[in-house]
Symmetry: C2
Subunit: 459 residues, 2 copies
């Protein structure tokens, strides 16, 4: 019994020492982010000096250069560009729609074809694909289909509300086209009732006739829905001239601090450098870009020597193809790289609430064992869940994927719209996110995630 | 052993049933707040139809009437006014200050005397009262003292940062006056660097000469501090004509649903109806007002029959005297009222994070036992801490005090300034706060807080 107690005491004491060490390291990183942090000014520069940066655009090229120069200025061990082929879709200079001669606020969905001139047609409102199929070709043919399923207000997570509506945006055109529709209006994917339409990616099923698809602002979706109740034969128009060009060359931008013990094992973390071509891509995903850069900067600033190689990856083309993420995973596989973990910040620059992990139950429990270290910073979400689009292709290589989870109440207010600008990001919330991200990277570096190659305690 | 297991099984089953019941009740209240909630439109009305409403002002009278009419419209069991004497301080029509002839953005602090015409004097910057005392009368006499201690960026809670600076605002004038200062500039109590100065209450120690005290915007505080480094003899001016008039009659506005089992025992919850005379008092404390009204409304809407009497109190005069809170406690004592608990929402309309309690360890543990019921709504703070200014006077009667804790990163950006307006409140964040508040009231009503008069389990 005495031996057990002694062993327990030793164990607890070691625990206390390790905890104190970790507490101080984490505190130093938060101080570095909050007191003279760089994340907010870096985001200002990305938003104002570069701006919106859709894959294939001159602004995306500018963003690659911006990131490379910035990362080089921090004198990390390595900075390089990884070539990525990206799609090249361009919103046209014509983008108009309306009803009974009255214009509505719209955004062409990314990937949509041109309307090839002005379409005029009656509108059929539906809530989902089942209703569309029930109405069938007889009703749909020659009309514009208006997908108007709204975010479910009861869902606490706005991400869940988005998940419940996003198929209208992605697949609405193909489904409507099968029944002979000539165009598609989609209610913007947002709780916020305003005049700003929200763009986003859509695709076409093979074999269906490609018809144009645009998002209506929530205000105009509500207006149109009301109008159709009293005037169901209202005549709408739609005129967009977006175009898809041949793929272009672009890059993931990568920086590393080389591991001091196991340099051939890698912790990758990042956000995506591209954005939609509206607003400034401030929350989506300028925040993730500057979180990732700041995480590497403050880890370095505290003098911490990482066990593993810490690799900050600014992915290209998350928004409309994920070619950056796919290429990264392919290259990693070809090179036989071993990833300890991959982390992503792509959920905005709002106050951080914690992390979700796509990993084994043991790995999730390992993450949960760090909760008390991060509780002073008001992080409380440590559970199974989504990692991120860019890192998802690493799943095939059994890499645990971890997503930073900022508060999401305001995220879809701005997502893919003209209001996703620097002014809508809060300095301290952004800084807290960067320090939280750095803390999780640090803890994974120090303790691993239980893989056999990872030492389970500090050396 | 079998008996123990059987008893345990029964207990656990009862636990599961009770939990399910509570889960459904809480879910219904969240749905009521989120789907067709009233809190956001009520706040719009309070901010736009009434506006800023400092105690003693015509707008505060209007707010009393607004609240009474609104509460009566919900047909609760009782609505009444409780008379409260309130101070009557009025910001003048002259409010100007500057340095070297260049104007600065200021707000006279509430309670400050008039400058009785334009004061011109040199400025001495200090960080705290110790530095002031070290400089002493020789340096201070005839000058304007500039208290420029900034919020500590390292503190995660902005409330802690505020707590570390607020003595400059409250007591700066008295301390400076003791050394012969002629006026006081105080750096606004905010992290946010902008041109909006933040007012707030100040007082005078008995016996010291009353000198005027004004807040400088953070931008101007930084500008002045920089200027004084290069031009320490810069000449500043200060001209304000605020005035204090005799006390006025006002009211706490109160509504009740009568308890169905123990009607003579009361759960009080509220916010404060008065605000400063700038902005619209949207977060401070319009949010608390509409949270409280909405909590009573949605509890009623779900058909829940409270055990105890649920009393919504909209307190008058929190900002500059707390006479509403003091009067409420005095009346409760005189009447021999028994309070099961008192809850307050006076920390803004931001996304709710949980609750803090000024109570016994057992009561705090009882609150913590409900954490799993509120975890689906992302509430995670359940700990000892501050209740609220308005309910604080009930402490003498051994009433457990509970404060709603919204996220506080943005709170002091707007607090007591021109930007505390309806547009800076987020609809869903406000609604989530109202439902969280209602849930805590419901749980206390159902399970009590362990006082001997409170049945410990459901009947």
């Amino acid at each position: 019994m005495k031996i057990i107690i002694l062993a327990l005491t030793l164990f607890l004491n070691l625990g206390v020492f390790a905890q104190k060490d970790d507490s101080l390291q984490i505190r130093e990183m938060f101080d570095a982010a909050l007191v003279e942090g760089h994340s907010y000014e870096n985001l200002r520069s990305l938003c104002k000096d570069v701006g919106a940066r859709l894959s294939g655009s001159p602004e995306a090229e500018k963003a690659v250069n911006w990131a490379k120069v910035l990362l080089e200025s921090y004198q990390f061990d390595k900075v390089w560009l990884m070539p990525v082929k990206v799609p090249h879709w361009v919103r046209g200079d014509i983008e108009e729609a309306g009803v009974n001669g009255k214009p509505m606020s719209i955004k062409t969905l990314g990937g949509s074809v041109s309307s090839n001139g002005k379409i005029e047609a009656k509108v059929i409102e539906v809530q989902d694909f089942d209703e569309l199929a029930e109405l069938g070709e007889e009703v749909i043919k020659g009309k514009i289909v208006f997908f108007n399923r709204a975010f479910d207000r009861r869902l606490i997570s706005t991400g869940d509300a988005y998940g419940g509506c996003v198929n209208q945006r992605w697949d609405g055109a193909s489904q409507a086209s099968k029944f002979g529709a000539v165009g598609v209006f989609v209610r913007s994917l947002s709780h916020k009732k305003d005049k700003h339409a929200h763009t986003g990616s859509m695709g076409y099923e093979e074999g269906v006739k490609k018809i144009p698809s645009v998002a209506l602002s929530v205000e105009d979706a509500d207006m149109l829905s009301e109008l159709l109740k009293s005037e169901p034969t209202s005549l709408a128009y739609l005129n967009v001239n977006s175009q898809t060009f041949p793929d272009k060359d672009s890059y993931n931008v990568i920086a590393e601090i080389t591991g001091s013990v196991d340099p051939d094992k890698i912790i990758t973390f990042g956000g995506h450098l591209d954005s939609w071509d509206v607003g400034e891509g401030a929350h989506d995903d300028g925040a993730g870009v500057v979180h990732s850069i700041e995480a590497l900067r403050i880890i370095k600033a505290t003098g911490y020597q990482p066990r593993y190689t810490l690799r900050c990856v600014l992915f290209m083309n998350e928004e409309n193809g994920n070619n950056g993420g796919k290429t990264y995973a392919t290259v990693a596989k070809e090179k036989g790289e071993i990833h300890v973990a991959a982390l992503e910040s792509d959920a905005g620059g709002f106050v951080p609430r914690g992390f979700t992990m796509d990993g084994t139950p043991e790995q999730i429990r390992q993450m949960q064992s760090w909760e008390s270290l991060l509780e002073p910073y008001k992080l409380h979400i440590f559970k199974a869940g989504w990692g991120g689009v860019d890192i998802k292709p690493l799943k095939d290589q059994n890499v645990p994927l971890i997503g930073l989870r900022p508060d999401d109440q305001r995220y879809f207010d701005h997502h893919h719209s003209d209001t996703d600008v620097f002014e809508n990001v809060h300095q301290r919330e952004l800084e807290l996110g960067a320090a939280s991200f750095a803390s999780m990277i640090y803890l994974i570096d120090k303790y691993g995630l239980g893989q056999s190659f990872a030492p389970l305690k500090d050396q």
